[in-house]
Amino acid sequence: MLENLTEMLKGVLEGCVLEIISRNETYGYEITRRLNALGFTDVVEGTVYTILIRLEKNKLVQITKKPSDMGPPRKFFAINDEGREELRKFWEKWEFLSSKINELKETRP
């Protein structure tokens, strides 16, 4: 990953995690691997964990505990209606932000 991307990524990571959850019910480890595969290699499970807690607190996801082959039961996350609404807003904001920043870049003298 590009150096020092973490700070910039912080603001949008929550939306990214919500997007991943919206496609399929999933759990922390899988989400982290997904982000790593996308190229965000610095993202660790601890980071995803704190985001999942925030999503849970804001009631944007639904949680089910399922037993796993080894270790304690795993928490699975699925999106709910409020989460879908939040995700829609996230992409709207992202569209705005990225179009404006590109605009700025393209008008370079």
Binding site: Y29, D42, G46, G71, P72
Partner: protein, 115 residues
Amino acid sequence: MNFWERITGSDMTKEMKSFESRAKKLPPDYQAAWEQINAYLWPHSDFTGRNLMPILDGVLGLLEETAADGQSVQEVLGDDIQGFCSALAGEEGAKSIRDKWREQLNQNIAKKLGK
């Protein structure tokens, strides 16, 4: 939590003991991280520390899950344990004693200024 537990904090002592015995089952590098997390989180405690119990329980769960996956603690938490802890405490809205002092200070100054 009954009255006796509320006053003596014996419910927390029990909970801390169960955390400790769970932590003891973790691999050594995880145990070290657990100790660090504890050290970073306690300044965020309220007067009794009761606000930290669910946070600690969650973190321990994360450590147990990832240890069972066979990941190293470095892979799980990265190198910024402090950042991880403040994110945790912040998300849970845990107000620390320091925040209370700050509030008090601001109020006192506002009063002195006659506002």
